[in-house]
């Protein structure tokens, strides 16, 4: 399995969590990461996103995502893996913390831990568990 975990970019505060939109800074972060991804992705991949507006907006900077309700904030590791396993080849999951950091810890180290994943950062994992960390990129270090 090849899986890219991509955390949504910087978002506005708001009472309705699922409706929070990216800030201008977040839009820039998403665009930067999308151009890095375009330069390094294989020709074929599947782009999945949480239904939250900030994840949808982040994903849309790369392409039109398939919305997966199971990736909404609070997604379990099992839900993330299940969503990705429905597709062949490289799958990109645009989601939330601490969900993505839990998935990375489980897949890479079989650990129940919440690894920090920075806003708009990409964790590129390859191989079956234990997965190898192929790349980690965030807007600050791009």
């Amino acid at each position: 399995m090849e899986l890219i975990l991509w955390r949504h970019a910087d978002a506005e505060d708001g009472a309705d969590d699922l409706a929070r939109r990216l800030t201008p800074k977040g839009e820039q972060q998403a665009a930067l990461m999308a151009s890095w991804l375009r330069a390094h992705l294989p020709g074929q991949y599947t782009l999945l996103a949480s239904p939250a507006a900030r994840a949808q907006q982040t994903a849309t900077s790369l392409g039109t995502p398939i919305t997966e309700r199971s990736l909404a904030p609070g997604a379990s590791v099992a839900a993330i893996v299940k969503a990705a396993e429905k597709y062949k080849g490289l799958v990109i999951v645009v989601g939330h913390q601490p969900d993505l950091g839990r998935a990375a810890a489980q897949l890479v180290a079989s650990a129940r831990a919440e690894w920090p994943v920075e806003k708009a950062a990409v964790w590129w994992l390859a191989g079956d568990a234990p997965a190898r960390i192929k790349a980690v990129v965030s807007p600050e270090l791009l």
Binding site: A109, A111, A113, P116, E118, W123, A135, V136, S138
Partner: protein, 150 residues
Amino acid sequence: MDLILWRHAEAEEGADDLRRRLTSKGRKQASRAAEWLLQRLPSRFMLISSPAARAHQTAQALGMPIKVDPSLAPGASPKAIIAAAGWPDNKGAVVIVGHQPDLGHALAQLVAGSEGRWSVKKGAIWWISNRVRDGDAQIVVRAVVSPDLL
């Protein structure tokens, strides 16, 4: 503190392991990685290399003074690497140039607290830092890049 673990680039075969030099592909890998690092590192950082020629040559691509530390030679334990870096209390940034599987062992221990053998490709850079968030000490993997992704 920022800790950058950098695996030496591709090297020639050779009977004398410590004298093996970079191939021309390895020299290109080292200079691309060095360019990436110089654009992102703070102006002051410590550069520490294994005494092996392939590590020292990789470190030289940064064009900065190099401290050679014999404890980073091939076979270095996670403990030796962590001690050489002064992790976690060193102020500023430290770049360590070393070997596999040593760097992968140190990374598994630092990031996951495990005895894993993480893969680190030739010429790859792992950049981690420590911070306190909501009262908890955290280790953040800030970047992992290998020459094919630079």
